[in-house]
């Protein structure tokens, strides 16, 4: 009988958050700390000829750092080493850091920043992903001979094609990014505390930039006010800047971005253009798929190769394709570098394939639900990488659940409307999957670790690098540890993610914290339980007796890939992910044909999460992710002019409010995954994938137009409505 699995545990981080006691980076009281700021490029591409310092300013009152002051390598260490910490000569994007300043207070800092005059020679910049001169990474996935099917279309078969575009999107964590860095200790070690998702990423970056060993760089996570991927890679930049300033100023430095600066310079979702075509037999059976995926990576590599990989691997949708060819490239432009955002490349390609399925349904005269059902991957099927799906394939279960809940399978989608007046109602549909954990051999190479330490009083301390960023890591890990130990939740203590204390569990990304790190935690706890032994006495009594008898209460376990998993990085064949989450959405919208405004009234979603270890947390992830998806679908505009973000404040960077959010209806479907803790698999990103295609599908149902770009803003909808009206006249 399980005590903690499937039952909601009180969040350990909850009381401090509702009482205002949780300490975020801006709340940290650091006596003697100076404030830091960044001198930034005002052009998207150019040469930094020099930095002039106004002689009228007293420079002895502040500390300044330039590229020449970087003690280690002038790089932001991540995948490639192409991004400098501070520009030495070549400027590649607007807002690129040129110099750093620290001052005793905000006023003096503002004066100092204004007294630095960069001399810049502007150069021609590229902002068009289709005209980029440089490719960061290309990937090809192929199976069978898709080209042959399109060259020689079988009799009765039909080819459907489309080009779909998605714009960028801002994560909009409500806490801006920030760090406090401390000057080097006498032994040369450096400490930073901040808002972040991945402490060990920051640690590696600090070591490279400061020229110290990783263990000499200590990274401590503070309460973190949202991340959504936005605090995956950029904290490495900010922590290095803060540490460099603390070193030069010889005192602690707080470097906390204001909202304008955060919006203007931190990485957002990759804009994309996806061309896709598919051949279907007359009965709707998919015969072949071709997709051409193009992502704008911005000025530097950052995480783009991995984002592209996930985008390409999700371009097939959750469907059987006997033949497929998917090509993808991520290219360089002079936009601010794009980075991680929940979904990580998949929402872009999911939008394309789901829009194409709607178009195919219309052209084939088959109900869109029926077309998905006919082509849905089922247990025993293989994906376009040749991965045979054996475990936890909830595809048919989520389709059945969403149909039961909404009746969409009987809705006359796309039929002409009888309504009078401008306000049109529509229902739209999407079916999608999302690979949980890292792509390919990622988890095997990383071998994320978790440690447990038995404390003298018999409690168990969990040491993991996974961060609590709101999703509920603390409650989840407490529940998993208590269940696997056979102990009370009160017997479990969680260590703060502090690289001086916790092992590298891998980053808090890729829907991997529950399934991968939680799995390692459960295995470690099972091992400790075996050592301590079961019995009638309480856990703490048994644990204390075990320690008194000289028992070793320290356990460390590392991730072990499922037996038989294989992946070829070169050919992109094999098991692309350990397992997939499956989901289907139905959106209800009202479209005003006079204004192009869209109101998303309701969103139903059925989600296969394997097992909902903490149902309230899972629902929170699904509703929160779905609202981000709905916002992206029609409301959240992110654009750049001459490489500069046009929505650099909350007055223009619009995200949904309580009044904009649809009413959610979440159905949890549980098809347990034997490779995850207590049957769980990842859920964090999955809900981001399906919202936009469902909303666009609903707009099509309401109006008859086929929106092919996200966000479907009123302006874009009006353009399509006008074009439709002109077509009707002609």
């Amino acid at each position: 009988m399980e005590r903690y699995i499937g039952r909601d545990l009180a969040r350990p981080d909850g009381p401090a958050k509702v009482e205002g006691r949780a300490v975020y980076v801006a709340d940290l009281d650091v006596p003697g700390a100076w404030v830091g700021g960044v001198v930034r490029s005002t052009v998207a591409r150019g040469l930094l000829l020099g930095l002039d310092f106004d002689p009228g300013f007293d420079w002895r009152t502040v500390a300044v750092a330039t590229a020449a002051d970087v003690p280690g390598e002038n790089v932001v260490a991540l995948i490639a080493d192409d991004q400098p910490l501070l520009v030495a000569r070549e400027i590649e994007h607007w807002g690129e850091p040129l110099a750093l300043v620290a001052a005793p207070d905000e006023l003096q800092l503002a004066r100092a920043l204004a007294a630095v005059r960069p001399r810049i020679e502007a150069r021609a910049a590229c902002f068009d992903l289709e005209r980029s001169p440089r490719v960061f990474k290309s990937i090809r996935v192929a199976q069978g001979d898709a080209g042959a099917v399109f060259r020689d279309v079988p009799p009765g078969a039909r080819v459907v094609e489309g080009t779909y575009r998605t714009d960028s999107q801002e994560q909009l964590y409500v806490e801006t990014q920030g760090f406090v860095a401390f000057p080097p200790a006498s032994d040369g070690s450096v400490t930073v505390r901040g808002s972040l998702q991945c402490p060990h990423y920051v640690q590696k970056a600090l070591a490279r930039a400061l020229g110290i060993a990783p263990e000499e760089a200590r990274v401590v996570q503070l309460a973190t006010g949202g991340g959504f991927g936005g605090k995956e890679d950029y904290p490495s930049v900010l922590a290095c800047h803060a540490a460099l300033l603390a070193r030069v100023a010889r005192r602690p430095v707080r470097l906390i971005l204001g909202r304008h600066e955060d919006l203007a310079v931190t990485p957002k979702r990759h804009p994309a253009r996806v061309r896709v075509r598919a051949a279907f037999a007359a009965d709707g059976t998919g015969l072949a798929l071709e997709a051409d995926v193009l992502f704008d990576g911005g000025a530097y590599t950052t995480l783009s190769p991995v984002v592209l990989s996930r985008g390409v691997l999700h371009a097939s949708g959750p469907y059987r394709w006997p033949a497929a060819e998917i090509r993808g490239s991520v290219v360089a432009t002079n936009h601010v570098p794009y980075g991680a955002f929940r979904g990580f490349g998949a929402p872009q390609t999911c939008l394309a394939i789901e829009r194409l399925m709607d178009r195919a349904a219309r052209e084939l005269g088959i109900h869109p639900f029926e077309l998905r059902l006919r082509n849905a991957l089922r247990p025993g099927d293989t994906t376009v990488t040749g991965q045979r799906l054996e475990h936890s394939v909830g595809s048919l279960e989520v389709l059945e659940a969403i149909a039961r809940r909404t009746g969409f399978d009987r809705h006359a989608w796309g039929a002409p409307h009888a309504e009078s007046g401008p306000r049109r109602r529509g229902l739209g549909f999407s079916f999608f999957f999302h690979g949980a954990g890292f792509t390919g051999s990622g988890e095997e190479l990383l071998r994320g670790r978790v440690s447990l330490a038995l404390l003298p009083d018999g409690r168990v301390e969990v040491l993991a690098g996974s961060t609590e960023i709101g999703q509920g890591t603390q409650a989840l890990f407490t529940a998993i540890a208590a269940e696997a130990l056979g102990a009370d939740a009160a017997d479990v203590v969680l260590a703060t993610p502090d690289t001086a204390r916790v092992p590298d569990s891998g980053p808090t990304v890729a829907s991997r914290t529950c399934m991968v790190v939680g799995g390692v935690l459960a295995a470690a706890a099972a091992e400790l339980r075996q050592r301590v032994g079961d019995g009638a006495a309480s856990w703490r009594e048994r644990a204390r007796a075990f320690l008194a008898g000289g028992g070793d209460g320290a356990v460390t376990r590392a991730y072990a890939p499922p037996p038989g998993a294989r992946w070829d990085e070169h050919s992109y064949r094999g098991d692309a992910y350990p397992v997939y989450g499956w989901a289907a959405d139905v959106a209800e919208v009202f479209v005003d044909e006079d204004t192009g405004e869209v109101d998303v009234a309701r969103l139903w979603t059925a989600v296969d999460v394997g097992r909902a270890l903490q149902p309230r947390l899972v629902t929170g992830q699904i509703e929160g992710g779905a609202l981000q998806a709905v916002g992206w679908a029609h409301r959240e505009v992110v654009s750049a002019r001459d490489g500069r973000c046009e929505q650099d404040r909350l007055a223009t960077c619009i995200v949904p409010t309580t009044l904009d959010a649809p009413r959610f209806d979440v159905t949890l479907v549980e098809v347990p995954y034997p490779g995850g803790p207590f049957g769980a698999k990842g859920v964090g990103e999955l809900p981001m994938d399906g919202g936009a295609p469902a909303v666009l599908s609903a707009i099509e149902d309401a109006t008859g137009i086929h929106p092919a770009q996200v966000p479907a803003t009123p302006e874009r909808i009006l353009d399509l409505l006008v074009a439709r009206a002109e077509e009707a006249h002609a």
Binding site: T176, A651, T658
Partner: protein, 164 residues
């Protein structure tokens, strides 16, 4: 970096914060937000944007919800200021925890303060607390984690106290 509003000479200011009278010497147009967070070290009130768009800095002045980032400290002279650290939030805090309405927590203090202001307005004016009412009351408070459903439910439960 945050905006600087007032470089003028400090003046003496008396504020009643969470029931205690505090005497400060600050520039008259210093933001109430900075007085609370920096001078009084009451850091439960959060800054999300500094220009009145996100609601994270919501506090009560004489029972009215105001944005501390847009309020000059001197304008609160002689008023009762209540922040998330103050008394009277027990019910709302409990409801937020029970509904799973706090995730990352950065919008939570502002949400809870606004919930209380709305709940008290409902009681005072005898308005039945509804989901639509809660959504209208909380429309100025941004949350990026929850999708709002849990927050709205927690707010309605809070405000229903005292209603049949």
């Amino acid at each position: 970096m945050k905006p600087i509003f007032d470089e003028s000479d400090p003046v003496e200011l008396r504020l009643c914060v969470n029931g205690a009278v505090r005497t400060l010497c600050v520039p008259p147009l210093r933001r109430l937000l900075d007085v609370l967070r920096e001078d009084l070290r009451l850091t439960g009130t959060k800054e999300g944007c500094g220009e009145g768009e996100c609601g994270a800095c919501t506090v009560l002045i004489d029972g009215q919800a105001v944005l501390a980032c847009l309020t000059a400290a001197c304008s609160a002279e002689g008023s009762e200021v209540v922040t998330i650290e103050g008394p009277g939030f027990e019910r709302a805090r409990r409801e937020f925890l029970e509904h799973g309405a706090a995730q990352c927590g950065i919008c939570t203090p502002g949400m809870i303060v606004m919930t209380r202001a709305w709940a008290e307005a409902c009681r005072r004016d005898g308005i039945e607390p509804t989901e639509d009412g809660a959504r209208a009351a909380l429309a100025g408070n941004l949350c990026r984690c929850t999708g709002y459903g849990a927050i709205v439910a927690a707010a309605v439960s809070t405000a229903r106290e005292g209603f049949p």
